[in-house]
């Protein structure tokens, strides 16, 4: 069904063979109404929400800067896979991050960080957390407020995107997947198509974030709630225990940060003015295949 609609969709004209290229190059420089209002509004709500959730989440993490595998945290045994702390080396304090048993010195960034005029034993520097100092209670208040905003925005986006056709644009089709190697090669050569349709790497990353990472980060978050898992104990089995869920929640956060960095990089490489205009006003200037 997705393939049918994909073929029918008039904007999916960036097939890449010569004829199509010549046809679409006639549209070069034309402004098209690319991003619908629901897409733009939810995009910016997410930008704000995920910023606050990241910084308040790191605040919460500081209260127990260890990640474990299993139902519980090992105090009488060792099931931790990540740990941020300090060690005393020759009378000097060092920030140390331990990942799968390997120790890395992270003074200045993790474990022992700048605070005021000196250094403090704290997992993260102040600019990475809300508030900038240790305050678990406030971190939780901020995190859970934006958690509701995130879930509500996801639902609004989902309904609007089903209604306005945006959802269909994001789901990779079989034809898309066959184009994957060439699309990867194009990206590596920084050759981007500006035809107003999503290429397969875009589809895979956006669909991955919206249908995999965000739902999973919500579910692993809920798995940490003792109330929610009393109602839905299956969550504890699905994620192999509350502490594993907490670890997955953290790993998904790293995925979102990585996505954000690549997203910003791509906006800069693809033409920041045009990209920003389209996500603010909706209007996007197409310039298909000009460089070929």
């Amino acid at each position: 069904m997705a393939t049918m609609s994909d073929v029918d969709a008039p904007k999916d004209r960036g097939g890449g063979d010569e004829t199509e290229t010549e046809t679409s190059s006639r549209d070069a420089g034309r402004l098209v109404y690319r991003q619908k209002i629901a897409t733009r509004v939810t995009h910016w709500i997410w930008a704000i929400t995920l910023f606050f959730m990241l910084l308040s989440g790191l605040q919460i993490f500081m209260a127990r800067p260890d990640l474990y595998i299993g139902q519980q945290s090992g105090f009488g045994f060792d099931n931790s896979i990540l740990s941020i702390g300090t060690v005393q080396v020759g009378g000097e304090l060092q920030g140390v991050t331990t990942i799968f048993g390997h120790q890395f010195e992270t003074t200045g960034w993790l474990g022992l960080v700048p605070q005021g005029d000196g250094m403090a034993r704290k997992s993260f520097p102040g600019w990475l957390t809300i508030p900038g100092y240790r305050d678990l209670a406030t971190g939780r208040v901020v995190h859970f407020f934006f958690a509701w905003v995130l879930v509500a925005t996801l639902l609004v986006w989902l309904i609007a995107s089903i209604a306005n056709g945006h959802l269909r644009e994001l789901v990779p089709t079989w034809r898309d997947l066959k184009r994957l190697p060439r699309d990867v090669a194009d990206h590596l050569r920084l050759r981007f198509r500006h035809d107003g349709a999503y290429n397969v790497l875009q589809k895979l990353s956006y669909a991955g974030i919206l249908f995999v990472v965000l739902p999973l980060i919500v579910l692993t978050g809920l798995t940490m709630s003792p109330g929610v898992v009393a109602k839905f104990p299956v969550l504890l089995d699905l994620f192999a225990g509350r502490q594993t869920a907490r670890t997955i929640h953290f790993a998904l956060m790293l995925c979102l940060v990585a996505f954000f960095l690549v997203h910003i990089l791509m906006v800069v490489l693809a033409g920041p003015i045009n990209e920003l205009r389209s996500i603010i006003t909706g209007w996007y200037r197409t310039a298909p295949e000009k460089r070929r």
């Binding site: 606050f52 910084l55 919460i60 993490f61 209260a63 127990r64 260890d66 474990y68 139902q71 519980q72 945290s73 090992g74 105090f75 009488g76 045994f77 010195e105 003074t107 200045g108 960034w109 960080v113 700048p114 250094m119 520097p125 102040g126 600019w127 809300i130 508030p131 900038g132 100092y133 305050d135 678990l136 209670a137 406030t138 939780r140 208040v141 901020v142 859970f144 407020f145 958690a147 509701w148 940490m224 709630s225 003792p226 109330g227 929610v228 898992v229 009393a230 109602k231 104990p233 504890l236 509350r242 502490q243 907490r246």
Partner: protein
């Protein structure tokens, strides 16, 4: 070599300090307890409470684990050895003269000795203790269901909360020592897994974990599960206790409802 390490470290530190300066603390205003922003943010917790009360019935139990999941002693947290004189005296004779007083909005105020509580029908459960800090620990708890005690004292119609007054002094305020206290609603108080525990992992509850009695509220976080319980009161409002937020940590910014 040493030199290289040091210069690398001072470079990293310098870079971290430089990047910290303009950004840190931009949003510290949300920490202020009486700001409008804070009030707005805290409405989310009321929503969470209402949704969980809508979803969770009394038959929705926290997961109970098998004995093989008890892999370590229950981690003691918060106060682990109260220095309060009245507590030390009771502990000295192994709580033989301890009486749990239940009063407030009840038809029949009553008090119970530890032996009387132990003689009542008990419940044993192997559950996961989730601390607000993020860690979890599985242990076996034995105690008397709070619902059974409520049936004895019979709360009156206006009663809405159960307040636990504790022995342990957390800090000394202007008006005297501030002792730990906590409160839960009647839905949680009557939940089958809500017990006043006097046993831990088949032993008498040790002082470090809250002897003589600690409440278990399995569908909420650890700070709701008051240790060293001195007396219990049924009330219609929490305003008379502490700063009126329903608990020691609640008075310090933590949410009253800790089901999340």
């Amino acid at each position: 070599m040493t030199r290289l390490t040091l210069s690398r470290r001072s470079f990293l530190t310098g870079a971290a300090v430089a990047s910290t300066a303009p950004l840190a603390g931009c949003f510290d205003g949300v920490a202020s307890r009486d700001s409008t922003i804070r009030d707005v943010l805290e409405t989310a917790n009321s929503l969470t409470y209402r949704v969980q009360r809508m979803l969770l019935g009394s038959d929705d139990l926290a997961r109970e684990y098998s004995p093989s999941e008890i892999r370590q002693p229950q981690r003691p947290n918060g106060t682990t050895n109260p220095g309060d004189v009245d507590y030390r005296q009771l502990a000295a004779d192994n709580f033989a003269s301890y009486r749990l007083k239940i009063s407030g909005l009840v038809e029949k105020p009553a008090q119970f000795s530890l032996d009387e509580l132990r003689a009542m029908p008990s419940r044993t459960q192997i559950t996961r203790h989730d601390c607000v800090e993020g860690w979890s620990c599985i242990a076996k708890w034995t105690g008397v269901p709070l619902a059974a005690l409520l049936d004895e004292v019979r709360p009156t119609a206006p009663a809405r909360f159960v307040v636990f007054d504790c022995f342990d002094t957390m800090e000394n305020g202007f008006a005297g020592p501030i002792r730990y206290y906590e409160s839960i609603d009647l839905a949680d108080a009557r939940h089958p897994q809500t017990i006043l525990a006097y046993g831990l992992n088949d032993q008498a509850l040790p002082v470090s974990n809250g002897a003589p009695l600690r409440v278990r509220v399995e569908r909420q976080l650890g700070y709701k599960m008051a240790k060293y319980i001195r007396k219990i009161a049924l009330v219609d409002s929490l305003s008379a206790y502490g700063q009126g937020n329903g608990g020691y940590w609640e008075d310090r910014g933590y949410e009253w409802f800790a089901g999340i």
